[in-house]
């Protein structure tokens, strides 16, 4: 692919653009226009990060998947050249296997994949349906407008992951508030560290209880590994922390941002509201995952051995950022990529990442979203935004994209 030779990588150093770039405020669902422009120029570009360092930006789907599947790229934030998202992540400690490489990554990940298998998750569908129906009953019984994030989007995944892990939902304020701090890019390292330590301390104590008195939940299975000497207490706590954090902010943002996107695309909203076909709803979930790509700011890795790709050599010790949000808008893979089209086959999107770190909770996230998108708009067909669009605050300052609140009425 010789087109990289004309790409920004070969411009003067002062022309290296800064990453992340701002979104266009009138198009809150679209990736930053500057990213699309770089994608049009070639699969690789050099960018400058918050700390002045340079990293490779990988803009096209094929190259993103190739690199995310390559064992010479490392997810270890301590590797030389690792492109950090904000001021040192060291203050927060490591977030278990999401920041490790194989074989240790695989060893730890396999300890917790069991409950997320497709059929095990499918068995939870009736319980999730009850949660969703109950929250909708409550909203309909209460006053409008209501903040959909608080009343609906956040409780669903939070309740579900708490149930799976065996964390009492009554304590949700402790981890919901702290998670918000942990994913806010503008929080200081000290603030993020303190938030993470508070939740970790809470989980460590709970783990201690399960070691003494096991129950039938994921935390108890981690406790069993500690007793068996396969994990130490700290490792098990970190894994529980990773699952708790990854399990609720993400899905919650998909629910709220997805609803806003549908309200702004009434024809698509109508399709979903009127469909009784679970297959269509499942396809709609994939398309919304592709289109919204809430895990913006890229999958980040350090290269540990020289890699030749797209006519370039990425050297050991350099950073690579796979910006999946534009991989999902790559016209080579998705026709008319900037259109939200619930009828398209979007299954090959990279919203869950790719390679060995691909989202472990994806069957659960999919099922939750299928229940939500398949229920909410049917039960509240007149759902509408209860504030001017200009007033909706988007999470441009968070590692996970979404809306801070979503006032709705009906």
């Amino acid at each position: 692919m010789a087109d990289t030779l004309t790409g920004p990588a070969h411009q003067a150093p002062d022309a290296v653009p800064e990453f992340p770039m701002p979104r266009e405020s009138r198009c809150p669902f679209d990736p930053p226009p500057a990213l699309k422009e770089l994608q049009g120029q070639g699969p690789l570009a050099k960018v400058r990060l918050w700390d002045g360092s340079e990293s490779w930006l990988v803009t096209r789907y094929a190259e993103q998947r190739a690199l995310l599947g390559d064992p010479r790229v490392s997810a270890d934030t301590d590797q030389p050249g690792y492109p950090t998202k904000a001021s040192p992540q060291a203050g927060e400690g490591k977030l278990s296997f999401i920041m490790m490489d194989d074989p240790e990554h695989a060893r730890l990940r396999r300890m917790v994949t069991g409950p997320f298998a497709v059929k095990k998750v499918e068995a939870l569908r009736p319980a999730v349906q009850r949660i969703v129906d109950g929250l909708i009953d409550d909203m309909l019984a209460g006053p409008a407008p209501v903040d959909l994030v608080d009343a609906f989007a956040l409780p669903i995944p939070s309740l579900v992951i708490c149930e799976l892990l065996g964390v009492p939902y009554d304590d949700h304020e402790l981890f919901q508030e702290n998670t918000k701090t942990m994913v806010r890019t503008t929080a200081t390292p000290e603030e993020r560290g303190a938030a993470s330590r508070e939740v970790a301390g809470y989980l460590a104590a709970l783990l201690g209880k399960r070691i003494a008195e096991p129950k039938d939940d994921l935390l108890s299975s981690l406790a069993g590994r500690v007793t068996a000497g396969e994990l130490d207490h700290g490792q098990a706590t970190e894994m529980a922390l990773l699952l708790l954090i990854a399990g609720h902010e993400t899905t919650a943002n998909m629910i709220a941002l997805g609803t806003l996107a549908l309200l702004r695309h009434p024809d698509q909203f109508k399709l979903l509201r009127e469909s009784d076909d679970p297959k269509f709803v499942a396809g709609a979930v994939e398309e919304l995952l592709r289109y919204l790509h809430i895990t913006h700011l890229g999958r980040r890795r350090a290269v540990t051995e020289d890699i030749e790709i797209a006519g370039q050599v990425i050297k050991a010790g350099e950073g690579v950022i796979m910006v999946n949000e534009i991989g999902n808008r790559d016209p080579e893979v998705f026709a008319d990529p900037d259109r939200l089209d619930l009828t398209r086959d979007a299954r090959r999107h990279v919203a869950f990442g790719f390679g060995v770190h691909q989202c472990l909770g994806q069957p659960l996230a999919r099922m939750e979203l299928q229940v939500v998108y398949g229920t909410l708009y049917k039960r509240i067909p007149t759902l509408k935004l209860a504030a001017p669009m200009e007033d909706v605050r988007f999470k441009n300052d968070a590692f996970i994209y979404g809306v801070h609140e979503l006032p709705v009425s009906w």
Partner: protein, 86 residues
């Protein structure tokens, strides 16, 4: 598209398939990261064990299942699935 697991070139030859209704599915379980994607793509061909690791329900797939198994090959994040002629 040439992304996804590197399938042997001859498996992509549609002429070949026409005279050959069944193909063999190969799964490298030690590469599997338990994403569940193959199960979603072809539930009658793939399942998962107690740890979420993929298992094959069928090794030979007929013409009618090829599209779904090809989708599984394409979406597998770990390049653990292959479709081969026999």
């Amino acid at each position: 598209m040439t992304v996804g697991s590197p399938a042997p070139a001859h498996t992509t030859n549609p002429m070949h398939e026409e005279g050959n209704p069944a193909m063999k599915v190969e799964l490298e379980a030690d590469k599997c990261v338990a994403s569940g994607q193959c199960v979603l793509a072809a539930m009658d061909v793939f399942d998962q064990d107690d740890d979420g690791i993929a298992i094959l329900l069928e090794e030979q797939v007929g013409e009618d299942r090829l599209d779904d198994v090809r989708e599984a090959v394409a979406v597998c994040p770990a390049a653990a699935i292959r479709l081969v002629d026999q």
